[in-house]
């Protein structure tokens, strides 16, 4: 006979109660794991999208907040606020390449799709795009689409898409890039500006510099010449991650509350068990069990609830995050969460943190019942009927 064996036998003697208590903690842990694993790949994903943008500096209208900065990376619709005059001023600066973006939206088969107005030639060079099918030609009647869009809507070269009542022929389909460029319909900038009625304005300008050590100087010069704001790619990542982090932490706190609620379930289960096994506690005391022995036996039971609930919750959480990720609605907040790449399965950090949390919470929940059991009077306990 060992303490472990005794604990396990006591734990599993009331099977349904054991299962429901385990399920309580598993559900809490599963929700925590889902949110933790969805967030784990977030930083890498944000950096990847930033890299895909290919710019060291992003020129934005003055007064843009962090939420709008996120949209530079996620492809959400952006207000058009930089006039062509400013674009030209920025482009005229020696040592930089300026690529203007006009980011808008349309719908194909009732699904929202990002439309980006670009300068075709500089953009192709800037992004190193390659054409998979058709030609790279953008004009008043032609568009080029990303590979995922083509796949999703079964578009072929020569097909027509209607954007704001105007038909465009799909002239070319880009080779898969593995980033958000695959999810966009590209139009010629002037055509897009006319189509969306934004005059000569663009949403932002991506800037590539020849000498990265001179970033501050370029940034200053851009702001001196044009009425715009400049952020570096690193600042962009930082502010995006800060916002994502806040959202993620809030969600994780909600999940942690679910685990805490389960902890009260453990307290309840353990108190019931102590009430039912009062006489058995008395027997153990008559046999010479010390207070700390009784305390540890009941604490181990609680810890085991945490351990088993943690393991089950981990498995359920990983499964849930894997299957749920593609269904998360796209928005500024969840755009990065919604891709399978953002889910890092079986991250040791997530496993470690979650198991530790589950066991610590279960142990804390077990302290009061265990203390109560250990403080029973032997004669009172053994005489209990």
């Amino acid at each position: 006979m060992t303490r472990g064996k005794l604990v396990f036998k006591n734990l599993t003697r009331k099977k349904s109660r054991f299962l429901f208590t385990i399920m309580g903690i598993s559900v809490g842990i599963a929700s925590l794991v889902t949110l933790l694993s969805l967030g784990t790949g977030l930083e890498a994903e944000v950096k990847k999208q930033s890299q895909a943008l290919g710019a060291e500096l992003v020129v934005t209208p003055k007064g843009w907040c962090a939420y709008e900065q996120i949209s530079v990376l996620t492809g959400e619709t952006l207000p058009e606020a930089i006039p062509n005059a400013d674009v030209e001023k920025v482009a005229a600066i020696k040592g930089i390449t300026a690529i203007p973006y006009l980011v808008q939206r349309t719908a194909i088969k009732n699904q929202p799709v990002t439309v980006v107005g670009i300068l075709p030639k500089p953009m192709k060079q800037f992004k190193n795009w390659e054409i998979d099918r058709g030609d790279y030609r953008l004009d008043q009647e032609s568009a080029v689409v990303g590979s995922s869009i083509a796949q999703q809507f079964e578009l072929k070269t020569g097909d027509k898409v209607t954007i704001r009542g105007t038909e465009f022929k799909i002239q070319g389909i880009l080779k898969e890039m593995g980033n958000r460029d695959d999810l966009v319909i590209y139009l010629d900038l002037a055509t897009a500006q006319k189509l969306y009625g934004v005059g000569d304005k663009v949403s932002f300008i991506a800037v590539k510099v020849d000498d990265v050590t001179q970033m501050d100087r370029y940034s200053q010069e851009i702001q001196e010449r044009a009425n715009v704001a400049v952020v570096s790619d690193k600042q962009l990542i930082r502010s995006v991650l800060a916002i994502m982090g806040t959202v993620r932490n809030t969600l994780q706190m909600i999940a942690a509350v679910a685990v805490l609620a389960a902890a009260f379930g453990i307290i309840n289960t353990m108190l019931t068990a102590i009430h039912e096994r009062k006489r058995e506690i008395g027997i153990l005391q008559a046999l010479g069990a010390k207070r700390r022995t009784i305390f540890s036996l009941f604490l181990y039971e609680s810890a085991l609830y945490g351990l088993l609930g943690g393991v089950l919750g981990l498995a359920a959480g990983f499964a849930l995050s894997f299957f749920a990720a593609p269904y998360i609605e796209q928005s500024e907040f969840t755009a990065f969460l919604g891709s399978a790449q953002s889910v890092k399965m079986f991250s040791p950090a997530v496993v470690g943190q979650t198991m530790l949390f589950a066991v610590v919470v279960a142990c804390l929940a077990g302290i009061y019942p265990a203390l109560k059991a250990s403080r029973l009077s032997p004669v009172e306990a053994i005489s209990y009927e």
Partner: protein, 228 residues
């Protein structure tokens, strides 16, 4: 004069449950080492309370209990648990076996609490169960046994840590005549091995095998009778 293994001096126990109930008052008692003694008296007159006090399961309101030279009223709860573990074996009327454990495990658990490693536990527990004639019931659960068999498991368990003294509270209270006879055989066997046995009982059959009988009435020790 034989050595006294248990000595109680002016032992008083008053229960306070909103009002005071005097369970035991000024009891002086001596039990010789190696004896087989009975405590008799009407129900509710303090027999079990006396047994609990001399077994260190409860503490007196006043007075002292000595186990050999050790004053049980002067030691803390952990030391008292240690005494119960190594020097005293208990047998109760309702057997008090742990229902989730097998017969073998019910004996092993007493050894586990004393720190005996699992292998040693098994060998010794099997030997004890053999002694009480339950070698073929090792893997049975308590609810698969008769009352007499359960009481034999309880005796085997009480002997697990080779205690000096065995305290039995109405051990035949739930047994039929045949099982009671078997129980007495086991008790005498244990006593002949040098263990001091103290039995709280109403049964004249049990009292008949005792060397000494202590009569308790209204919480006081009325008389001590020598059987042999």
């Amino acid at each position: 004069m034989s050595e006294m293994i248990i000595r109680a001096e002016k032992l008083t126990k008053i229960y306070e449950n909103g009002y005071s109930t005097v369970a035991l008052q000024d009891v002086d008692l001596e039990i010789p080492r190696g004896s087989l003694s009975c405590i008799m008296g009407p129900s509710g007159h303090g027999k079990s309370t006396l047994l609990h006090l001399i077994g260190g399961l409860d503490r007196p309101t006043s007075g002292q209990v000595f186990l050999g030279n050790l004053d049980l009223t002067a030691i803390d709860a952990n030391q008292l648990a240690e005494v119960r573990c190594r020097r005293i074996g208990f047998v109760f009327q309702f057997f008090n076996l742990l229902p989730v454990l097998t017969v073998l495990e019910n004996v092993e658990i007493a050894l586990m609490l004393a720190g005996t490693p699992p292998r040693g536990q098994r060998e010794w527990a099997e030997e004890l169960l053999d002694l009480v004639g339950l070698e073929d019931k090792l893997q049975a659960r308590p609810n698969q046994l008769s009352g007499g068999q359960r009481q034999r498991v309880a005796i085997a368990r009480s002997l697990a840590n080779d205690p000096d003294i065995l305290l039995m509270d109405e051990p035949s209270g739930n047994l039929d005549t045949k099982s009671e006879r078997e129980l007495l055989e086991n008790i005498e066997k244990v006593n002949q091995r040098g263990k001091t046995v103290v039995i709280v009982t109403h049964s004249p059959t049990v009292a008949a095998v005792a060397h000494r009988i202590y009569y308790i009435q209204d919480g006081r020790l009325q008389k001590v009778a020598q059987n042999r």
